[in-house]
Every structure is written in C-alpha cells, then in structure tokens.
C-alpha cells in the first residue's frame, strides 16, 4: 500500500471527580497492546476539557469511565458538547460501574456503547476497531 493507514486514535479520560481508575488504565493498556494510539488524560477532567482535547487531537473515539454514580449527568454533558462543537462523529464510549437500566438512557443522549465493569478487554478492543473502520470509510 502506498499510503500508510492511519492508526486508530483514542482519547481515554475520567470526567468528574471519581478517582477509581483501575478499569480505565486496563483498557488504555489493552488498546495500546492492540496497536492503537491512546491518549490518557487521567482523572478529574471537566466535560469541556475532554471534548476540547478530543477535537484538538483528532481522535476517532472518546472513552470515559465513571464509577461513582455521576455517569448520567456527565455523559449527557459530554454528548451535548460534542454536538455543539459539531464533533458528534467522534464515537463516545462509556464504561464503569453502570447499572443496566441506565444504559438505554445513555445511548439515547449519544453514548454509542456502554461497557460495564465485567466487560472483557478483547470485546472493547474489537468494538473500537469496528467503529473506527466504519468511521474511516464514512
């Protein structure tokens, strides 16, 4: 191939104040092992700063992880900001301690998929590979 294929770019970060990052760090490591370019923005991010970095860094996927119960309001704000910035093509994924009954609500305001704390790393890797390929083709 003459043109080099662009690596999948992912921004991973923890919005809000929740400090539990064991899960998100595992995902960061698994995505890197799968050959993706991953930016990890650490803890205590505002929705505004995550969206700003996602746009600046031209990522395919924005993954957020929340375990302290703030997932509904935080994800809604991030999804809204992505739309306001005309960046809704960035795939928004969420993970963490999320009760099943909240998943439809999160999908309704723009979260593409939710990976609860029992999800397998491989499952997340494959999902991101799939959506990034779709996005590149679009």
């Amino acid at each position: 191939m003459s043109t080099q294929q662009r690596k999948i770019r992912v921004l991973m970060g923890k919005p809000g104040l929740c400090g539990h990052d064991r899960g998100i760090v595992l995902v960061v490591m698994a995505l890197r092992d799968a050959g993706m370019e991953v930016i990890y923005s650490g803890r205590h991010n505002s929705p505004e700063s995550l969206v700003e970095v996602a746009i600046q860094e031209d990522v395919d996927v924005l993954g957020v992880s929340i375990l302290a119960g703030g997932h509904l309001s935080l994800c809604e704000r991030i999804a809204t900001l992505l739309r306001e910035r005309n960046a809704q093509d960035i795939v928004l994924l969420a993970g963490g301690f999320i009760p099943p009954e909240d998943i439809p609500k999160m999908k309704a305001f723009g979260v593409r998929e939710v990976f609860r704390d029992g999800a397998r790393l491989e499952e997340i890797v494959q999902f991101i590979e799939k959506v990034a390929t779709e996005r590149a083709a679009a």
Partner: protein
C-alpha cells in the same frame, strides 16, 4: 543433626514418590506476587534461628502478635462502614448509634468535599451528596454533632487531601463545647500519598501535601495526644490492582515518608508513631500468604522503628493493622459465593492476628447493600469469632514450616522493594516519576489477563458459571434536591457570616503557606481561625491552591 536427618529423609521421600512429585512440580504454583510454592515444606525450609526471627507474641519483633495472649486478651474489633445522606440525616444516625451503646461508624464524605470544592463549584455538579455527606463549613460539622459530646465520642473521618480542615473543624467544635482537647479521640485517614497513586482524590502537588500531613501530626502531638491523625492505607493498592508485596511495600514507604518528615520537624518518634494505623486488605486469595503478610508486617515495622528510628517504647514498635476484605474480588455472578470469599478473608485476617476486620457485603457489587446482607457480613465475623475456636491460641500458624518460610520470603521481597524505592530517592520521587502507578497498572493488567484467559479461576465468572439474572438492585440514594439544598446553604452562609473576618483568615493561610514549612509556621492555627470564621472548605483549599498549585499526575504506563 536433626536437620541433617530430615534432609536425608526428605531426599529419600522424593525418590520414593519421584513420578508424583515431578508431575506436581511441573505445574508452576506461585502466589500472585511471584513467590514460588514448593509441593511440601519441611524443617529444612525454615530458618535455623527460629526464636530470634520469630520470637514470642507480645515481644519484639512481634511476628507472632502484638499481645502475649492474642485474641484471648481482646478479640479483634468487628467493624462496619456505612454511607450517609445530608449532615442532618448523619446527625440522626450518629445519635441513634450512640444511644445503642455503639460508636458512630467512619464518616464517608462526598467527592466535592474530599477534593476541597464547594457545592457551587462547576466540577461539583451532579456529585454533591453522592458518595457520602457533603460538608462545606463548620456549620455542617455543628449540625452533624448536634447533641453529641465530642469528649465522649470517637469520630473517624475518611478524609485525605483536606484533612487539616477537618481536624480544624473538630478542634473548633470541641472548644465551643468546652471540651478538654487532651481527651478528644478520633481518627483522620490523612494518607495523601496513596491518593496520588491509588485512590485518586488529590488536590495539591506532593511536597505541599506532605507538609499538610506533617502539620496535622505536629499539631496533634502538641495539643491532641489521644487523637490518631493518620491511617496509612495499604489496602487501596490491591484494590487498584497491586500485588501483595507492593501493597505492603508501598504502605510502609508512605509511612516512612510521613515519619521522616515529622522527625525533620523535630517531633519525637515515641510521641506520634503510636497514632499511626495501617488500613490494609485481608483477602481470601493465596490465603496463607495473607496471614503470613500480617506476620511479616509486624516484624518489618518493629525492626525499622527500633533500629532505624530509635523508638524506645515497645508500643511505638507495634504495627497495628485494621483490614477490610477487598471489594474488587467480589463477583456479580453467583453473588452468594461472595459470602464464602469474605468468610475466608476473615479467617486470613484472624490467622494473621490483626486488630480490626471489616467484611464487604455479598451484594455491594450491585449498589448500596441491603440491611439483610449487612447483617450477614457482621454475622459472618461472629461465626468466625465464636464458633471456630480460632481465637483460642495465639498465632496458630507459628512454627508451620510452610508459613514461616512464606513469612520470611515475603519479608525479603518487601525489603527488596523498599530498597528499590529508597534508591529512587524515596517514595515522593517514586510517585512523581510514575514508578508506583506503573507498577500497580502492570500488576493489575497481569491479573486481569490471567482471569480473562482462565489461568486464574474466578468461580462463577470464568469457571462453574450458571445462568442467572442480575438481582434487583438498590439504587444509589441520589437526590438532586440535596445538591440544591447544599448549594443554597452555602450561599446563605456567605450572606450571613462576617466576610471581612473570612478574608482576613484566608489571607493568613496564604501568608503561612508561602513561608517554608517549619515549627512555628504550622498551617493548623490559621486554618483553625478560618474555620472559626465559617470559611468554606472550597475557600480554604482555594487559598492553598493559589500558593501550592494542583497536582498533575503522570499518565504513562
């Protein structure tokens, strides 16, 4: 002579059972932290100088226990941790518990409070009153303890980055109640170093954070001798994924950092080190290593305190351990098996001779525990305490060839890790360069991959699964009206108080923070004055943020 005989007999035994033993040895058994396990342990595996290494309970180096008579002297404390709603609801609960002859449980605070943010800060949106009580100023503290005499009540608070503000609120309220500060008992978590690497609720950079801890230690050594200003939390490391050697080594490295700083300040080791407790995990995985861990901890701590820090008082040398079973090992699949897991975790702690045990409930993987499951968690401990006979004999594993070898090997590995950290220039450097985070992440990744590929069994998850549905879940008690109420309360407070006095007090905090840490320049007095003037936690931490800045964590693994 005896050892020679045993060695010969062991060789002969190996020869007789050659096939079986070599087959067993082909399976690489090891603890999660890499300590290899033999098929059998004999006297040739234990140290020749057993009594020097292990000794007697109640005597240095305390490997066999802090007390000569162990649990016959005093049973471990059966602890429980509970969540709360508003300051008013917390007050009702505390009074109820005191009326029933108990002590209030450790107080959980919401995340904005833990991060020094007022309820009206933009980052606090949606999180006020969520993971615990929202405490904004002395006014909330007064509400929580209305009708409760602080002189008679032990108050434990799970607070770290703004711990100095909470100590100040306690001091001011005690003074207002006319209490004798020398009699005030209570405990702050106050272990900021593990926040940078494991728990995540940090505010300021490492060095000024450490200064705040030392300021509280120094203040308590001078004014509140009965107060325990620090719990060193090793237990957050395994919850973040660290293996057991890292759990202990990082906890000790944190503790030594606090001690070094306090000693540099001129505080006498025997005046404050007794108030340091370790909050660890007790887990069912590698169960006998868990018991060996607690034995090794006592020996390492006592040796370091006596030989390195020159402690004279035997009480200073005793490593006091409180432990909870780990939430991250519980499963949502077949959740009843979590009772089996926590029962074994309790047994591990008891075999290790620790001072306090708290067990997780079987259903907390689904949300706030039900009352029934809380009673099961407490009842489980009652069964271990009163039906098994385990508390009857001190250190029942002492002298086991296997457990003694495990204890010695565990100690060796912890000391090796401590040396590695010391070579890096100490724990502050190890945190700042990202070493600790990386070590934890790599441990977590290894374990997780082993679960995913089935090398490590999780019953119900990767083996022995059965079809089932999530049981109905207890929703989080989140009330948006609570956030609104706290928001209005803080606005009202700002209208009613003497704002000139607040500004003056905050200015003094800034001036004190700008001068280098030293005795005579302790931040506690100006923080106490600000609290007395009803400055909010966000304003006090904001003043400190202006001088100290905020911590930015290393994010490479």
């Amino acid at each position: 002579m005896f050892l020679e005989q045993i060695k010969t007999a062991e060789e002969e035994w190996k020869e007789r059972h050659k096939d079986e033993i070599s087959q067993a040895e082909a399976v690489n058994a090891a603890c999660e932290d890499g300590i290899p396990l033999k098929v059998l342990y004999t006297p040739s595996d234990s140290k020749a100088d057993f009594y020097a290494e292990v000794g007697f309970p109640g005597d240095f180096p305390f490997t066999r226990g802090n007390d000569a008579a162990g649990y016959r002297k005093k049973l471990w404390t059966i602890s429980h941790y509970a969540g709360f709603g508003s300051p008013r609801e917390t007050n009702v609960l505390f009074r109820k518990m005191i009326d029933h002859g108990g002590v209030p449980p450790y107080m959980a605070l919401d995340l904005p409070t833990q991060l020094g943010l007022d309820p009206d800060h933009p980052m606090a949106r949606g999180e006020v009153g969520m993971a615990g009580t929202s405490v904004t100023s002395l006014r909330d503290w007064e509400t929580i303890f209305e009708g409760i005499k602080l002189e008679d009540t032990f108050v434990g608070t799970v607070i770290n980055a703004p711990a100095a503000v909470f100590l100040a609120m306690h001091v001011v309220l005690a003074e207002k109640q006319g209490a004798d500060l020398k009699k005030i008992r209570g405990n702050l978590q106050n272990d900021i170093l593990k926040e940078f690497t494991a728990r995540g609720n940090f505010i300021f950079p490492v060095a000024p954070s450490l200064r705040l801890v030392t300021d509280t230690l120094e203040y308590c050594a001078q004014h509140l001798p009965a107060y325990w200003p620090l719990n060193v939390c090793g237990g957050h490391y395994p919850e973040a994924g660290a293996n057991r050697v890292h759990e202990v080594a990082f906890a000790f490295a944190d503790a030594f950092t606090y001690i070094d700083d306090a000693i540099r300040r001129g505080v006498n080791i025997d005046n404050f080190a007794k108030g340091i407790f370790f909050l660890m995990k007790t887990n069912h995985t590698d169960l006998l290593e868990e018991a060996a861990k607690f034995r090794a901890m006592r020996k390492i701590w006592a040796t370091r305190l006596r030989d390195h820090y020159g402690a004279k008082d035997a009480e200073t040398m005793k490593c006091r351990v409180l432990a909870h079973s780990g939430g991250s090992l519980l499963t949502r699949e077949r959740p009843e098996l979590n009772i089996a897991r926590t029962t074994l975790a309790c047994v591990a702690g008891v075999l290790g001779g620790i001072q306090l045990i708290g067990l997780r409930t079987m259903d907390e993987v689904f949300g706030i525990p039900t009352e029934k499951s809380e009673l099961i968690a407490i009842g489980t401990q009652h069964v271990v305490a009163h039906e098994t006979g385990l508390p009857d004999v001190v250190d029942p594993l002492g002298g086991s060839y296997y457990v003694e070898a495990l204890t010695a090997e565990f100690e060796r590995k912890v000391l090796e890790e401590l040396e590695r950290i010391e070579r890096m220039g100490g724990m502050v450097k190890a945190i700042e360069c990202g070493y600790v985070r990386k070590a934890i992440a790599q441990d977590a990744y290894r374990t997780h991959r082993a679960w995913e590929n089935g090398d490590k069994v999780k019953v119900g998850v990767n083996k022995y699964q059965i079809e089932e549905n999530d049981p109905p879940r207890q929703p989080y008690a989140y009330k948006p009206e609570e956030e609104q109420r706290q928001l209005e309360a803080v606005r009202q407070l700002r209208r009613e108080r003497d704002n000139a006095a607040v500004d003056q007090a905050l200015k003094r905090i800034v001036e004190t923070a700008q001068r280098p840490a030293a005795t005579g320049n302790n931040l506690m007095p100006p923080i106490i004055e600000a609290v007395r003037a009803y400055a909010t936690i966000g304003e006090i931490c904001g003043a400190l943020r202006r001088v100290f800045g905020e911590y930015s964590e290393p994010t490479s693994f």
